[in-house]
Subunit: 665 residues, 2 copies
C-alpha cells in the first residue's frame, strides 16, 4: 500500500464522515426525531412541540459541535454521573498522550525512518508506507536512539498522566460516595448463601442471624422470592400490555382497533401491580405458606447506619465462606433481579464455565478474522481465486479491497460480540447490571485486543503453522517483525472502523429506523416512553482502548498512524459528549469502577509497546537501545504495582472513614 492508497482511503472515510455528520445535524432538527436524539430531555418532558416548518431545518449546521465543546465537566457529571466523566477522561487522556506522541514521533522519528536507508526516494504520493516505518532503518544504525528516546518520552508522560487521572478519579469516586443523596441502598446489604434448615424459613434465619450478630444496627430485611411460572406469564403480559399501550394510548379509544385488550386494560394494570408485589413491595402476610416455599436463599438486609452496612459487607461472616456472603446492595435500578435467586454455591462454577465459554468463543472467531487477513494479501487471494485476477488488476478496486473491505467485514463480525459477551456475563450470576456491564466490558476488551490486534499481527505467516504458541522467548522478535508490516492495516482500521463507528454512534441508526418504523408504518402518534438507553460502556470502552493500543504499539514503529488516531479521539470527544448530554440516560452507575480496567489496559499497551521495541532493537542490532528499554519495562511495571497499592483498594470496597464521616444518621 502506498501513500496514494492511504489518502484514497482517508478521502473516502472523511467523505463518509462529513456526509453522516451533516445528515445528523439535519435529522436532529426534525421534531419527529426528538425521541431518538434528545432522549434525555424527552424522558423528563415528553411533550411534543411542533416547530414551524422552515428551511433552516434542512441546512446542516455545526451548532451541536459547539454545544458539545462548551459543556463543562460539571455539566457532564450532573447529567451522566461519575461513569460518564470517567469515560470522557479516557478520551481526554488519549488526546493528551497521543498529542505528545505525535509531536515527538512525527518530528523526530519519522524523518529518521524516512532517511534510514540510502535509497532513491520516489515522489511522495507513490512512496510505499513501509518507507515510513522503522523497517526502513538500517541494521546497526546509530539513529535508533531517537526511537528509544521517543519510547521513554511516551512511557514517562503516559505514567505521569495516568497517575494524575487515577488520583482525580479516586477523588471523584470518594466524592460520589459521600456526596450522593442518601439512598436506601447505602444502608442495605445483599446477603446470599443463607443456609437452609428444615426447622425455620430463610426469613427466620436472616432475622435470627442479624439480630444476634448485629443487634445494635440491624433494622429489618426483605427476602428475595422465586418467580414461578405464573409470575413469568404475568411479567410477559405486563410487557405486552406496555407495548400495546404505547401503540394504543390509555386515554383515547379508537384510531386502530385492538381486539386483544379492548376493555381489559384495567385488569392488565392490576396484574402488573401484583407482579411488582412479587418483587417485594406488599406485606408478607398474604399467601404465607406458599411464599415460604418461594423464598430464595438471598435477602436484602437494612441497617441503621451506612457504616454498619459497610462493615457488614466487608467482614467475613461465617466460618463457611460459602454461607452468609455479604456485599453492599446495588442501587434499586441496578439490581439484576433474576440473578438474585441463583444459589451462591453455583457462582464460582458459573464464572469458570463462562470464562471457558468466552475463551472458546474468542478462538472460534479466528475463522472470519483469518479470512479478513487474507484480503490484505492480494497476491495469495488472486492465487486461490483466479477469477478475481481481472477485477483486482484495476487500481481503484485494488485499493478499495486492500484498504477498506477487510475492515468493514471485521466490523460487521464484531457487532455480534457484545451481545454474546453480555449473555455470558448474565449467566455468570452477577447480581447488578453495572457489575454485569463491567464483566462484559472486560470480556469484550480481551476479545477485541486478541482478535483485532494479536490475530492480525500474528496471522500473517505464523498462525498457519501454529508454531507461535510454542515459542515464548521469540515473542518479542515475532511481534517486532510483524507489527511494522501490519501498521498499514491498523492505519486503515483506525480510518474506517474508528471514524465510521463514531458517525454511526452519533446518528443512532437503529433507533432512527425503529422510530421511523413506528411513525410511518405503525402510524403511532404517541411517543414511546420506555425506550431509553444507558451508555454502552461495554462496547465503547474496549473500542477506545483498542485504538489506544494501536496508537501506542505503532507510535514508535510506524508514526504515520498517529494523526489518524488523534483525529479519531478528537471526534470521539465531540461525539460522546454530545451523546452523553442528549441521548443516554444513566439509570444506575458504578462510581468509576471502569477506571482500573482502563488503567491496567493502558499499562498493558505500554509494556507491549516496549516489548515490541525491544524486539525491534534486537533485530536492528542496537544493544544500547535494547539495554535502555529493559529498565523502562521494569519501571512501568513497578509504577503499575504502586498504583495498584495506592488506588485500587478504594475501587473494591468503600473506606470506613468516608462512610462514617458523612452519612451515618
Amino acid at each position: 500500500m502506498d501513500i496514494g492508497a492511504l489518502l484514497t482511503s482517508a478521502g473516502i472515510n472523511i467523505a463518509i464522515c462529513v456526509v453522516l455528520l451533516s445528515l445528523y445535524s439535519i435529522l436532529r432538527k426534525q421534531p419527529s426525531n426528538v425521541s431518538v436524539y434528545f432522549t434525555r430531555r424527552f424522558v423528563s418532558e415528553p411533550v411534543k412541540r411542533s416547530d414551524p416548518f422552515c428551511l433552516e431545518r434542512f441546512v446542516p449546521s455545526a451548532s451541536w459541535i459547539m454545544r458539545a465543546w462548551q459543556a463543562t465537566d460539571e455539566e457532564i457529571l450532573a447529567v451522566g454521573g461519575v461513569d460518564a466523566v470517567v469515560f470522557m477522561r479516557i478520551v481526554v487522556f488519549s488526546i493528551r498522550i497521543f498529542s505528545i506522541a505525535a509531536m515527538i514521533c512525527i518530528f523526530l522519528v519519522l524523518p529518521v525512518n524516512y532517511y534510514g536507508q540510502e535509497m532513491q526516494h520516489k515522489r511522495i504520493h507513490a512512496e510505499s508506507l513501509e518507507v515510513f516505518t522503522i523497517g526502513n532503518v538500517k541494521e546497526g544504525s546509530k539513529w535508533l536512539w531517537t526511537h528509544c528516546l521517543a519510547l521513554y518520552v511516551i512511557s514517562c508522560s503516559a505514567c505521569v498522566l495516568l497517575y494524575f487521572e487515577y488520583k482525580s478519579i479516586t477523588k471523584m469516586r470518594l466524592a460520589h460516595i459521600t456526596g450522593s443523596p442518601p439512598n436506601p441502598s447505602h444502608f442495605t446489604v445483599l446477603v446470599r448463601g443463607i443456609p437452609w434448615s428444615p426447622d425455620h424459613s430463610y426469613s427466620d434465619a436472616v432475622e435470627k442471624f442479624f439480630s444476634t450478630y448485629y443487634p445494635a444496627s440491624y433494622v429489618s430485611h426483605q427476602m428475595v422470592y422465586r418467580a414461578g411460572t405464573v409470575e413469568k406469564l404475568m411479567k410477559d403480559a405486563e410487557k405486552m400490555y406496555r407495548m400495546l399501550k404505547t401503540v394504543e394510548p390509555h386515554g383515547k379509544q379508537g384510531s386502530m382497533p385492538c381486539c386483544l385488550c379492548g376493555g381489559t386494560t384495567h385488569s392488565f394494570k392490576m396484574l402488573s401491580h401484583e407482579a411488582e408485589s412479587v418483587k417485594g413491595k406488599t406485606s408478607v402476610d398474604e399467601l404465607q405458606s406458599t411464599q415460604r416455599e418461594k423464598e430464595r436463599p438471598a435477602a436484602f438486609v437494612f441497617f441503621r447506619t451506612r457504616y454498619a452496612a459497610v462493615v457488614a459487607a466487608q467482614v467475613l461472616q461465617s466460618p463457611n465462606p460459602m454461607l452468609w456472603v455479604t456485599q453492599l446492595a446495588p442501587e434499586p435500578h441496578d439490581v439484576y433481579w433474576s440473578n438474585l435467586s441463583i444459589p451462591y454455591k453455583q457462582v464460582w462454577l458459573r464464572k469458570i464455565a463462562t470464562l471457558l465459554g468466552a475463551i472458546v468463543f474468542m478462538f472460534m472467531f479466528l475463522v472470519p478474522v483469518t479470512f479478513v487477513q487474507g484480503l490484505t494479501q492480494l497476491d495469495q487471494l488472486s492465487h486461490t481465486f483466479p477469477f478475481l485476477k481481472g477485477i483486482l488488476k484495476e487500481k481503484l478496486m485494488n485499493q478499495l479491497v486492500t484498504g477498506y473491505l477487510p475492515s468493514v467485514i471485521l466490523i460487521l463480525f464484531l457487532y455480534a460480540v457484545p451481545p454474546t459477551m453480555m449473555l455470558f456475563s448474565t449467566m455468570e450470576g452477577n447480581v447488578s447490571r453495572s457489575e454485569r456491564k463491567r464483566s462484559t466490558c472486560i470480556k469484550v476488551l480481551y476479545f477485541t485486543i486478541w482478535n483485532v490486534f494479536f490475530v492480525n499481527v500474528l496471522s500473517g505467516s505464523i498462525i498457519r503453522q501454529l508454531s507461535v504458541f510454542s515459542s515464548v522467548r521469540d515473542i518479542p522478535t515475532q511481534l517486532a517483525k510483524a507489527v511494522p508490516t501490519q501498521a498499514t492495516f491498523f492505519t486503515t482500521y483506525v480510518l474506517s472502523s474508528g471514524w465510521a463507528s463514531l458517525s454511526c454512534e452519533v446518528i443512532q441508526l437503529f433507533a432512527l429506523l425503529c422510530n421511523a418504523f413506528r411513525k410511518f408504518i405503525l402510524r403511532s402518534k404517541e411517543e414511546p416512553s420506555n425506550c431509553t438507553l444507558t451508555f454502552p460502556h461495554h462496547t465503547e470502552i474496549p473500542r477506545l482502548l483498542l485504538f489506544g493500543l494501536l496508537g501506542f504499539t505503532c507510535s514508535v514503529m510506524a508514526p504515520l498512524i498517529l494523526p489518524f488516531v488523534l483525529v479519531y479521539f478528537f471526534l470521539a470527544f465531540l461525539v460522546y459528549r454530545n451523546q452523553i448530554l442528549h441521548v443516554y440516560v444513566s439509570k444506575y452507575e458504578c462510581g468509576g469502577q471502569f477506571w482500573p480496567i482502563v488503567h491496567n489496559t493502558t499499562i498493558f499497551s505500554l509494556v507491549l509497546t516496549q516489548i515490541i521495541a525491544l524486539g525491534v532493537f534486537g533485530i536492528k542490532q542496537s544493544p544500547v537501545a535494547s539495554g535502555f528499554t529493559i529498565p523502562l519495562i521494569f519501571f512501568t511495571l513497578l509504577f503499575n504495582e504502586y498504583c495498584r497499592q495506592r488506588f485500587s483498594p478504594v475501587f473494591k470496597s468503600s473506606p470506613a472513614q468516608v462512610s462514617i464521616r458523612n452519612l451515618s444518621i
Copy 2:
C-alpha cells in the same frame, strides 16, 4: 544404575540410619543431654537430676519409638499447638496417599512395565532400573490403560483425602480461634501508615482517629518507638550480659574471673529493664519531648471487644489505602519488633525487591546443581577429567559416586538456603515471626522444587542449550522424556537425603555439639535457659512436600520409588512426633496457616504428574490414555478452585460469627 547398586545405596543408608538412631537412643539417656533432647521439659523445670550410673544407659533401646507412636493427637495439640498438628497431618496424609499409590502401582503398574517389552530379562539384581519404569513399555501398547487407571485412582484419592484434611484443619483453626484463652492480642489491632502532620504527634493522631471513628469500642493505644543508637547499644549489652550470665551464674562468684562485668551485673540489669521499657512498658510521661521524636508511624490499638478488633482489622479505613493500614496484632511473642518501624509505604517495594532477590538466588544456585547432575552421568565426567577413569572403574566406587555422592553434595548446598531465605523474609518487612516463617517457607519451597526437581529433570541435556525456556507446548513431552530417566536419581535422593535428614533431625547434631562444647570446654555447670528452639516449619514443610512431589511424579512412571518414599514418611512420623513432644517449644503459632501452602503444593504436584503422564502417553502413542488424562487435569484444577472458595478465606481473616460468639467481653 541397576538393582544391585540401588540395594547397595539402600544398605548404606539403612546402616547409617540404624547407627544414628541407636546413637540417639543412647545419647538421650545421658543426663548431660537433657537440655538437648528434652528441651521442653527442661524449660519448665530446669532441675538437674543426676541419675545413678548404670549399664542400661549405654544400651540402645526403642522406647522413644513406642512413646512417639502412642502419643495421641490431643497430646500433640496440647504440646505443640495447631501448627504441630497441621505438620503431622502432612505426614499422615502422605502416608495414606502413598500407601494407596504403592498398592496400585506395585501390583498393577510395575508388572506391566517389567513385561512391557519382549526382551531377555537378566537376573533380578543385575536388572537395570530402567526396566521398571514406563520407558520399558512398548509404543502403542494396549496396557497403558493401567497407568491411566493408576493415575485416576491416585488423583481421586488424593483429592478426597485433601478435602477432608482441609475441612478438619479449618475446624481446628476455628476451634483454636474461639477456644484459646483470652489474650490481649485478640483485642488489639496493629495500625501502620499513620499519616504525619506537623501539628500533632503520631500518638495524638491515633487517639483522634480511633476515638472519632470507633468511639464505642476504642480503649487506648500504644505507640511503637524507634530504637536509637543508645537503645541498640543497650540491647547488645543486655545480650552480652545474658550470655555472660550463663557462663558465670548470678549467685556464685568465682570459678572463672570475668573482668568485664565484675560487680556491674546490677547496672546491666537496670539497663536491660530500661531497654524493655522502650518497647512500651513504662508510661509515656517521662522524656516526653524526645519520645515524641522517637515515635514511629505504627501503633497497637486496643479495643473493648474482640469483634471490634476483627472489624477494625478487616475494614478499609482510609481513602488512601497506604494510610491507616490495620491488621490483627500478632501475639506478643510473635511480634517482630524491629520491623514495626518500617514505613508501610516501603513494604510493597521491599516485597518486590526481595522477590527479585530470591529469584536471582534461585538461578544462581544452578551452578552447584549442574555440577551435581554431572556426577550421575559418569561417562561425561570421566571424559572431562581423565584422571578419574581409574577410580571410577572400580565397581563399588562407581556405585558410590553415582548413587550417593550427588545427593550429599546437594544436601550440603541446600543447608545454606533457609537462612538466606529467612534473611530475605526479614527484609520484606513482615511484622510477625510466624508471618516471616510462612513467607520463608514459601520461598524455600519454590527454591527446593525448582532446584531439586526441575533443574535435575531438565538439566540432563536441555538446560545447556537453554532451549527449554523457549518451548511451552513441548514441556509435557520434555518432562515425559526426562522424568523416567531421572527417577533413579530421585530414588537415591529419597534414600540418602530423606532418610539421613531424619536421622540428623533426631540427633540434633548442632545442639549436641554446642552442649558438649559448653560442658567440656567452657566447663559451665549451669544449664542455659534461653536456647529453646521453635519448630523449623520453614525447612521441614518444604522437605516433606518435595518428597511428596517426587513420590507423585514418579509414582506412575517409576513405581520403584514408592516403597522408599513410604519408609521415609513412616520414619518422619515417628521422628517428628518425638521432636514435637520433647524438643521444640512453641512460643507462637499461626493457627494452621501453613495448610493452604501444603494444599496448593499437593495440587501442583498432582497436576504436574498428570501433565507428565499426558506427555508420556503422547510419546507412547496412546490417544485413549491421553484423552482420559485431560479431563483429569481439568477436574483436579476445578477441585482446587472449589477448596479455594470453600476454605481459604477462613485462613486469611477470622469470621465475625466466631469472634462474636465466644469472646466478646
